[in-house]
């Protein structure tokens, strides 16, 4: 009973904070696209098309752009409460459906990448940190650092040129060529591998750093002195503590699934969420932009909540301190 109580207060305070954040975020994701210079209407048509002023005016009215900003915002909030994210004239469809269909594909290759990247990062990173004197620890750390300090599009492009063009192992574009499992796997393997290497390398570095610090503390020495036999048990103790900063990052990875995918999607010509958002920014497609930013915001908030809860569970010190 006593244990649950503080956690209960802890969580409800967090919830309040998240709700307030959410409202601020709603305001921001609404305002930001509309503050950008440029006009959604002019980007509705191609470079060569001439629109008469009356057409432009009627289009702006259709977009709802002819009313004052605060009215538009209130209308938008009401829409959201009904679960309606609006309609996109650039993409010719309801925002919600478009987001779902694109998000589904992006999730298909990003979620496995994050999970596998986390797994590799934690296991390899912990071992590298734990046995930091060995030569292979340095090698792993260096490789991870090289990958982390290379621009993502460069790595993706190199992968494209090497594995697709020169070696012909994978296809050039698309989520599939014909809609079957074989084709999908074939097309998604390389982007997933590239994405895994990004996540894994960053995780390796952080985990390694964290484990290195833990190693120096007293409790591992004490455990050793007790003759606790296997390194693995030591492993579990140290790993639990070292993993905290990493949990936060991995949770954020889930939150930022979509934005992180942008370069992969441009290089491998995948029509997923990343490129949807990028196109929406360039075309000033407000409904899609606001809708996707909102979804991302929700993801991130959920990710944060999860990270907080997991920190609570894993580390009793955090529980106690609140």
């Amino acid at each position: 009973m006593v244990k649950i109580h503080p956690a209960g207060i802890f969580l409800s305070r967090k919830l309040l904070r998240y709700l307030l954040s959410f409202f601020c975020i709603l305001l921001i994701v609404f305002l930001l696209p509309r503050m950008m210079p440029g006009d959604p209407v002019s980007n509705l048509v191609g470079e060569d098309i001439y629109l008469s002023q009356s057409t432009i005016d009627s289009l702006r009215a259709a977009f709802g752009l002819d009313t004052p900003l605060h009215e538009q915002f209130i209308r938008y909030c009401l829409q959201i409460m009904h679960g309606d994210l609006g309609y996109s004239y650039h993409m010719h469809g309801p925002v919600f459906e478009i987001l779902i269909s694109r998000a589904w594909w992006t999730l298909l290759y990003t979620i496995p990448s994050i999970i596998i990247g986390a797994w590799i990062g934690i296991s390899l990173g912990a071992r590298a940190g734990f046995q930091s004197g060995k030569w292979w620890s340095d090698v792993i750390a260096s490789i991870a650092l090289v990958i982390s300090s290379t621009p993502p599009y460069l790595l993706s492009l190199l992968a494209l040129v090497l594995f697709v063009y020169h070696l012909g192992l994978f296809p050039f574009k698309g989520f599939y060529d014909t809609y079957n499992l074989q084709s999908i796997l074939y097309h998604l393997t390389l982007p997933t591998l590239v994405l895994i290497s990004f996540y894994a390398s960053r995780n390796i570095l952080i985990m390694r750093g964290a484990v290195l610090t833990e190693k120096e503390l007293l409790y591992p020495q004490f455990a050793r002195s007790l003759g606790i036999p296997e390194r693995e048990i030591l492993f579990h103790h140290i790993r639990k503590n070292a993993i905290i900063p990493l949990i936060v990052l991995i949770a954020l990875d889930f939150g930022f699934l979509f934005s992180g995918a942008l370069f992969i999607e441009i290089v491998f010509s995948l029509s997923g969420m990343g490129s949807l958002m990028y196109d929406a920014i360039l075309a000033r497609d407000y409904p899609i932009l606001t809708g996707s930013l909102l979804i991302i915001a929700i993801f991130v908030i959920i990710a944060n909540i999860t990270a907080d809860i997991m920190s609570l569970i894993i580390d009793p010190r955090i529980r106690r301190s609140s």
Partner: protein
């Protein structure tokens, strides 16, 4: 615990490798598919609403008119047309023996319906809605009556795909209508599938097509999100050709494509060009002598070398390239730094404080605000260097595309770099007048010239279809450009279309390149 993790890891990797190797086996079964690579992306499966799909669907739904390889207007769905003397009544005679892919014949009703639908429901074609007063169908003839004279109508009608009335009349909002296909079409092919996830559009042979046919049952147009992937795909042989609207195959990629030995290059001069535009509402750009000086300060040959890698030439003062019908020879643009400096000096722009930058009448240094979109960064760097050598300061301001549209419409710049497209050159009164006439605003146009002489010339052109008169006007327009330099052409260029050596029968027109009916009825594979 660790050992089993290792086992799982290796197992997973093995599975992945096996799968990918398996998949790579059965990929290239090449059965009569013509594969076209492009970087124009289809963003949504809206047959009319999506801009790129609207370009591709000419293949399945031919418009009334088309351009031949010399830029002359000839019939496509229509056989020919007649115009009333006052240019307000246009009658199109529809060819016989054309059938939709569901078997029904193409009739003048379809044409009437399509054009009317464009006018009422499609924002792009709003002008039709505003000016079309009456449509009459008589057998295989359609007559359109407008409330004002149109001299350009035949040209405009090269871009509107004709739709089957019996399918589209029940669709409520055609601009927003989406479907991945198949769509009923009357061309040599019909659009079978728009697959956004696979990144391609698939056209299949129209079973009811009565004309000449190519060797290919299927045409696939695949889009890539970056040019490098498209170029590499072409090089690797999985694509047969590359097409991008109003653009050439990237010049930098031509050499390595040639090295593969599998491709020929189709080289055609184009009327699209890159130019430097002046904000004529501000000083000193409003001073013709200043513009003259700027034009002498630019090293055109170097621009041609760097921007077109030799696939272009130094332009003439007349702005309009030889590729355009009505071209007249004017003096070439000349690079002479000394002349530039002298012109500035005699026009009253001197550098009195010796800091290397000339001053305006009010004594302030002249530093021009050069506003560009990111794709013009290279040329902007060069222009800045050239102008600074002549004593004119330049600050380059790079903004993203949509921001550029807004700022140039607000005339918030001194000079800018932008391009014309073949279509844009024909727009308004033709010969690039669409870019300069201040009464006509739009996406890529500068609308900076409000000189009476120029505006009257545009109006004169718009009021006649007399070919001899038009040639005379074209000459006057080019002479106007040569004398006043509202925009300085930086280089003329040739568009390169690469194609698989083993395929013959390619036909290219100035508007849509190889995407025309001659190509798709004539390509033959010698493989």
């Amino acid at each position: 615990m660790r050992k089993s993790q290792h086992k799982m890891c290796t197992l997973l990797f093995l599975i992945l490798s096996i799968v990918s190797v398996c998949c790579s086996m059965g990929v290239m079964a090449d059965d009569a598919i013509l594969r076209i690579a492009t970087t124009n992306e289809v963003k949504s499966p809206a047959f009319i609403g999506d801009y790129t799909l609207g370009l591709f669907n000419h293949l399945s739904n031919p418009p009334l008119m088309q351009m031949d390889e010399n830029g002359k207007l000839i019939g496509l769905l229509a056989d020919h047309y007649e115009v009333s003397p006052d240019n307000t009544e246009w009658t199109f005679v529809i060819k016989d023996n054309q059938f939709w892919s569901d078997g029904t014949p193409v009739t003048a009703d379809d044409v009437a319906f399509s054009i009317q639908m464009y006018g009422t429901s499609i924002p792009n074609a709003g002008w039709i809605g505003e000016t079309l007063t009456d449509t009459q169908v008589d057998g295989n003839k359609v007559t359109f009556k407008f409330n004002k004279p149109y001299t350009n109508l035949a040209l405009e009608f090269t871009s509107y795909s004709i739709l089957p009335k019996h399918i589209w009349e029940s669709i409520e909002n055609p601009n927003e209508f989406t479907s991945t296909g198949p769509y009923v079409g009357a061309g040599p092919y019909y659009l079978d599938n728009v697959d956004l996830n696979a990144g391609k559009v698939i056209f299949k042979r129209n079973p009811s097509w009565k004309g000449k046919i190519s060797d290919y049952d299927t045409v696939e147009i695949s889009w890539f999100k970056n040019e490098d992937a498209a170029a590499k795909a072409l090089e690797s042989g999985i694509m047969d050709t590359y097409w991008k609207y109003a653009s050439s195959y990237p010049y930098a990629a031509i050499d390595s494509l040639r090295k593969t030995g599998n491709f020929e290059m189709l080289e055609k001069p184009t009327s699209g060009l890159t130019f430097l535009g002046f904000n004529l509402k501000r000083e000193p750009m409003s001073d013709p002598a200043f513009r003259e000086a700027v034009s002498s300060a630019i090293n055109y040959q170097e621009l041609v070398d760097i921007s077109t890698l030799g696939y272009g030439l130094v332009p003439n003062r007349g702005f309009v390239p030889p590729a355009m019908d009505g071209y007249i020879q004017t003096k070439p643009m000349e690079y002479n730094l000394e002349t530039a400096k002298k012109t500035l000096d005699s026009a009253g722009y001197k550098d009195s404080d010796g800091n290397g930058i000339i001053e305006a009448a009010d004594g302030k240094d002249i530093t021009l605000d050069l506003l560009i979109r990111n794709s013009y960064a290279r040329e902007a760097e060069l222009i800045k260097e050239y102008l600074e050598k002549a004593g004119i300061g330049v600050e380059v301001r790079t903004v993203e595309d949509n921001t550029w549209f807004e700022m140039k419409d607000k005339l918030d710049y001194d000079i800018t770099l932008t391009r014309t497209t073949p279509w844009g050159m024909l727009m308004h009164a033709g010969w690039a007048t669409g870019y300069f006439d201040s009464r006509r605003t739009g996406q890529g146009v500068l609308h900076t010239v409000d000189d009476e002489v120029f505006l009257k010339l545009c109006d004169d052109i718009l009021s006649t279809t007399d070919q001899t008169l038009l040639k005379e006007y074209a000459k006057e327009v080019q002479e106007y450009y040569a004398e006043n330099l509202p925009g300085i052409p930086l280089y003329w260029k040739n568009d390169i279309t690469p194609y698989n050596k083993k395929i013959t029968g390619w036909y290219s027109n100035p508007l849509y390149g190889i995407m025309n009916e001659f190509t798709f009825t004539g390509v033959k594979s010698s493989a």
